[in-house]
């Protein structure tokens, strides 16, 4: 929200430098987002009046204006704006003027027509962000006067008010807070409403949603443009000037925080009734749109129809126009929750609803009405009714709050003198009704409904005392490690292993686009997505990894080896599960290197090795069929399926990735629990080993697993280890056959082996292979 420093200064003394003011706000918990200097002196920009306007002969979008600048001759100006009418007063930049944005104005020809200067929009003069058209000045602006005289030098602060502090949403309210924090006195107070309240002319049917409503009749007024000071004030904080009545209403809201609304009294049919809307009731609002209302929406109605959505926006039909003579000025207290839910339901937030839903000061309702009435009388010549028509009851003052000094010290962590605490709370407008040396009971002012219990008062003490004056303390406690600690540690270990193997960790979005890629099928969609890219929750990690591969291949990568550890949301109920995903593609080395002659491509067995390397127990890969995989396997740990692995089908890829893309995805929830568990020492032999190779030609469909089993069953006691080291096929082996080679290592625990012993053991294995698998052994 924007605040004018000049305006604040009417209520309280402020430091000179805007940065110091911002610092003061920071201490109060009010964050300053932007500081903007206004009305810096601009030479050669003056008030002028448009006396005629015609189409530019050579350009559809331009007009040629004649303007009067107070001198003898009129000036011809080419203009691109359309928001003016002949007779309007507008800023004219004369040749030689230098605008705040750096533009220098010169006499020039635009599409063949001479232009002797430029008519300016607010943004061109550094007066806000409006670039939509010319800055239309007040009709009483003096022609020929410098624009700097019209726009006073001011600083505009854009600050963020937290939602609990509705009382700061006005210049008076913020000044009151600054006064409390800086120990200054407020210079003036809003007027008391010393007026007779008449219980007539208004009825409230919905007393819960509308505790209090008042309407004051003001007659015989003249609607017209606002005087310059009023326009300048509301425009300085970003509110457009409409006419004197509407401007006064906005001015009072900006000054005191209480929104008011003026109805054209002659268009109201009968007395006011505040009630809930009827189902489907149509309402044409001041923004020109028709809203369909529901029975939980509160409306201000006359005897025939709704004339305002309470606390949000008035109606078009009863709005103030140039011909309005008599008005009814509304000032009311609406239930914050009701205004909030209606504004959200209708997607119709307004400056008024923003304030109402944050809770207003009940005591300001009639004061604001009085302030607006006085201004209307002064600026529009109205004569106000002696009394104000009202119904309902203003909410009672907040309940008293007790605070123990000891608890305050306990929560803050240091000892603060009771006298200091009392002074701070009194500074914020609280009054002590009862007190002992240990605690006090405090009366809360009507505008501080956020102060409900002792901790709220303690926060005020911290704010005023200064958080920076509380020294930080060293305080520790040890906690036993939790299940979350253990799984975090396991995952850290996995990451280290995978990085050591040359894989790069990725973190992809858990929100994906619908059918982003293969493996995003059946993803749970969001009910209210915002953009196309984020509409569903990833059901697997693989869709994200495939996306990363595609991006990197497009960027020219030659080797992509990735892993991700993270949550997925398993359909149909979006059960959350932790997974590990892997993807390998491309050359086995990223870049050519003088020591890396190996240009082998990564394949299924690289992927398999990666997966095997992170699990403590042996995994088995079993073929299955999968629509997105041209090699597909289920991964078993013991007898449980823990994931899938395979080669991506080319149909599952949007890019050309030669050599095949290999992927795997595994659940991390169970099988890794044993990871990091202690391995136990196994003795390695002290005596020399003897190795023997077995090479064999076998049918193409005989798998390694089978051969492995035969080699090991039954276990030869001298056999220490076996390695598979060669595989080839081709003409020399024969059609439908392949050649395999294994190296067997024999060793005894307690002696040096003899060749004879090994030959006996080795022969047994060779025999078994021949007998059980009918392989042809090669010598």
């Amino acid at each position: 929200m924007k605040f004018s420093v000049n305006w604040l200064r009417e209520f309280v003394d402020l430091p000179k430098a805007p940065e110091e003011i911002a610092d003061l706000f920071n201490r109060a918990g009010v964050e300053t987002k932007n500081i903007e200097a206004r009305g810096a002196k601009i030479d050669k920009v003056i008030v002028s009046q448009i006396t005629s306007s015609s189409r530019h002969p050579n350009a559809d979008r331009l007009t040629v204006c004649e303007v009067y600048d107070g001198s003898e001759t009129k000036r011809q100006i080419v203009c691109g704006a359309t928001n003016y009418k002949v007779g309007d007063k507008v800023p004219l930049a004369l040749p030689g003027a230098k605008l705040p944005n750096g533009t220098e104005i010169r006499k020039s020809k635009l599409r063949g027509i001479e232009s002797e200067g430029m008519l300016c929009s607010p943004i061109e003069l550094g007066l806000g962000e409006d670039a939509s058209g010319l800055l239309i000045l007040s009709p009483d602006a003096k022609i020929g006067a410098s624009i700097s005289d019209l726009v006073p030098v001011d600083t505009i602060l854009d600050v963020e008010i937290t939602p609990n502090r509705g009382d700061l949403l006005s210049h008076f309210g913020l000044s009151r807070e600054i006064a409390a924090l800086s120990g200054k006195k407020l210079k003036s107070m809003p007027p008391e409403a010393k007026i007779e309240i008449k219980k007539s002319g208004v009825t409230i049917a919905a007393t819960r949603e509308c505790p209090f409503f008042s309407g004051r009749k003001i007659g015989k007024l003249k609607v017209g443009p606002s005087p310059q000071w009023l326009r300048a004030k509301i425009e300085s904080v970003g509110i457009r000037s409409i006419n004197n009545i509407v401007d006064i209403s906005n001015f009072v809201m900006l000054e005191l925080g209480q929104p008011t609304h003026a109805f054209d009294a002659d268009k109201l049919k009968g007395s006011i009734n505040v009630r809930l809307a009827r189902e489907g009731e149509k309402f044409l609002a001041l923004d020109g749109k028709t809203y369909s209302l529901k029975p939980d929406n509160l409306v201000v109605a006359d005897q025939e129809r709704a004339v305002g959505i309470a606390g949000i926006m008035g109606g078009e039909e009863t709005g103030v126009t140039d011909s309005t003579k008599n008005i009814l000025l509304e000032s009311a207290y609406f239930l914050p929750a009701s205004v909030r839910s209606t504004a959200r339901e209708l997607s119709l937030p307004s400056d008024a609803s923003y304030r109402f839903e944050r809770g207003l000061d009940p005591e300001m309702v009639l004061r604001a009405s009085q302030r607006a009435t006085e201004l209307i009388h002064e600026l529009a010549g109205g004569t106000q009714a002696k009394e104000i028509g009202a119904a309902g009851k203003l909410p009672a003052n907040p309940a008293d709050v007790s605070l123990s000094y000891e608890k305050c010290d306990r929560i803050v962590g240091i000892s603060i003198k009771p006298k200091t605490i009392d002074e701070i709370l009194e500074g914020f407008g609280l009054t002590k009704s009862k007190g002992t040396s240990k605690s006090g009971t405090w009366k809360i002012p009507s505008y501080r409904r956020d102060l409900q219990r002792d901790v709220d008062l303690i926060e005020e003490v911290v704010r005023a005392y200064g958080a920076d004056k509380i020294p930080g303390t060293d305080r520790s406690r040890v906690m036993p490690s939790s299940a979350a600690d253990r799984s975090h540690d396991i995952e850290s270990t996995l990451r280290e292993r995978l990085v050591a193997r040359g894989l790069s960790e990725v973190r992809t979005s858990k929100l994906i686009s619908r059918n982003a890629s293969a493996f995003s099928e059946n993803a749970i969609g969001l009910r209210n997505p915002l953009t196309e890219e984020h509409v569903a929750l990833r059901p697997r990690l693989l869709s994200g990894l495939i996306g990363v591969l595609e991006g990197n291949v497009r960027a020219g990568a030659e080797r992509v080896a990735l892993f991700e550890l993270g949550r997925v949301f398993v359909p149909p109920d979006a059960r959350e599960e932790r997974r590990a995903g892997f993807l390998v593609w491309g050359k086995s080395v990223s870049d050519p290197h003088w020591r890396a002659s190996d240009q082998r491509r990564l394949d299924f067995f690289d992927l398999k090795g990666v997966v095997e390397s992170i699990f403590p127990e042996e995994l088995s890969f079993q073929r299955i069929a999968h629509p997105n995989l041209s090699i597909a396997a289920e991964i078993y740990a013991k007898k449980r399926v823990i994931g899938i692995a395979g080669q991506l089908s080319t149909l599952a890829l949007k890019i050309d990735a030669p050599g095949g893309v290999f992927v795997a995805e595994l659940s991390l929830d169970l099988p890794i629990q044993g990871l990091g568990s202690r391995a136990t020492f196994r003795e390695f032999g002290k005596f020399p080993a003897i190795t023997r190779d077995i090479a064999m030609v076998v049918p193409e469909d005989l798998v390694h697993e089978k051969i492995w089993e035969v080699i090991f069953h039954p276990m030869e006691p001298l056999l220490e280890r076996v390695e598979f080291f060669d595989l080839f096929s081709g003409a020399e082996v024969g059609e439908g056959k392949k050649s395999l080679a294994y190296r067997l290592t024999y060793r005894a625990k307690n002696r040096t082996l003899t060749n004879e012993e090994v030959s006996v053991a080795h022969a047994k294995i060779r025999e078994r292979l021949k007998r059980e698998l009918r392989v042809t052994l090669r010598e």
Binding site: P163, V499, L526, L537, R559, L562, S620, S630, F724
Partner: protein, 361 residues
């Protein structure tokens, strides 16, 4: 009545489905969509139609042609995939993986785990994602301060995300507009503060935990906003936990993370679930862009109303606000990683370009 074109379509679709191989599929395609195919022939026939019939039949013809073309294409893709798979069936997937297990003696079938790996060194060095590095560094510091880890789901209910955190439905800070909802009414947590509630439901005080995790907000993706972001939540509940303790803890953390000359400032703020609430700013030479105050965390003393909600859910008085007090904080990890590693755009994290990732190897 069925239009002859529709009849033609149904026949074509059936024959596409029946085609057993690419050759017979091609025959079906030629029969219907070829130059002299029966669907193509309708193009000629159109010319003979009455003027008012033309647009209707024309539209139908386009639809039929598109449907049959699509069916042929998808069937053909199926064949291609099949062929691809068939070519790969010869691969024996039981062969050992590269640097996977090696066959050590002691092997007795699948029931006994093996612990050795064969050697085949990778020439590459991998990399940890910068966000992971940031999280790990932070977690390590908090662990030295005696915090244990806690965890909670990304998908939450409204009670854990709002009500339990003293943000009832009419509260102006409860902004459903910024919250992603699932069709079943659950939501994606908008902050990791939900884990505070879960941790307190699970165990009585004292409690001292941190919870790293993702949170979601209905924001457009741009250089500084992402609909998914990462936080570390912290909660400490004990006897006499104070603002001073909170300050001490976060000052220690940020000095460990950013260097001992880091200045830490606490500014009053508002969060519904803490009172007092403080926003945390740091200023450090370690951060690029000179010495300026940067907002890095929200924090505060746990609001007694939060304890009361937790007690209600627990069905006991374990978190008696008169006996226990606590502090809580939430750190924005994406932002911290961005300022610490001088990363200009939050989108780089989720893009995972290897040229980006390997800078942090």
């Amino acid at each position: 009545m069925i239009h002859p074109l529709e009849q033609l379509r149904d026949n074509a679709l059936r024959e596409v489905g029946d085609a057993g191989d690419e050759k017979s599929l091609e025959a079906v395609r030629v029969k219907y969509l070829g130059k002299n195919g029966s669907i193509s022939a309708w193009g000629e026939q159109m010319k003979t139609l009455a003027k008012e019939e033309k647009p209707v039949v024309g539209k139908l013809l386009n639809e039929v042609r598109a449907a049959v073309t699509a069916a042929v294409e998808s069937r053909s893709a199926q064949f291609r995939a099949q062929k691809e798979s068939e070519a790969l069936t010869k691969i024996d997937i039981s062969l050992p993986g590269v640097s996977g297990y090696s066959g050590y003696a002691g092997y007795t079938g699948f029931s006994t785990p093996l612990t050795g790996y064969s050697g085949y060194a990778s020439l590459e060095r991998g990399s940890l994602h910068p966000l992971t590095q940031m999280l790990e560094r932070s977690i390590e510091i908090f662990r030295r301060m005696g915090f244990a880890l806690a965890d909670g789901p990304d998908i939450e209910d409204e009670w854990h995300c709002f009500d339990a955190l003293n943000t009832p439905p009419e509260h102006p800070a409860r902004n459903e507009q910024d919250t992603f909802y699932l069709p079943d009414g659950r939501l994606l947590r908008t902050h990791t503060s939900t884990v505070q509630i879960r941790a307190m439901q699970a165990a009585p005080p004292p409690i001292r935990v941190i919870a790293p995790g993702a949170a979601y907000r209905r924001d457009e993706l741009d250089a500084t906003h992402s609909p998914q972001f990462h936080q570390i939540e912290g909660l400490y509940v004990d006897e006499n936990v104070s603002v001073a303790d909170l300050k001490g803890a976060l000052e220690f953390f940020f000095r460990e993370l950013l260097g001992s000359d880091t200045a830490v400032q606490f500014r009053p703020h508002f969060f519904p679930f803490t009172e007092p609430s403080l926003e945390v700013y740091v200023k450090s030479k370690a951060l690029k862009g000179g010495e300026r105050w940067i907002e890095v965390a929200g924090s505060g003393v746990v609001h007694p109303a939060v304890f009361e909600q937790v007690n209600k859910a627990r069905g006991d008085k374990a978190y008696d606000p008169e006996k226990w007090s606590g502090y809580a904080f939430g750190l924005g990890m994406d932002r911290l990683a961005m300022i610490l590693f001088d990363i200009p755009d939050i989108r780089l994290f989720a893009q995972n370009d290897l040229r980006f990732l390997r800078q942090f190897a």
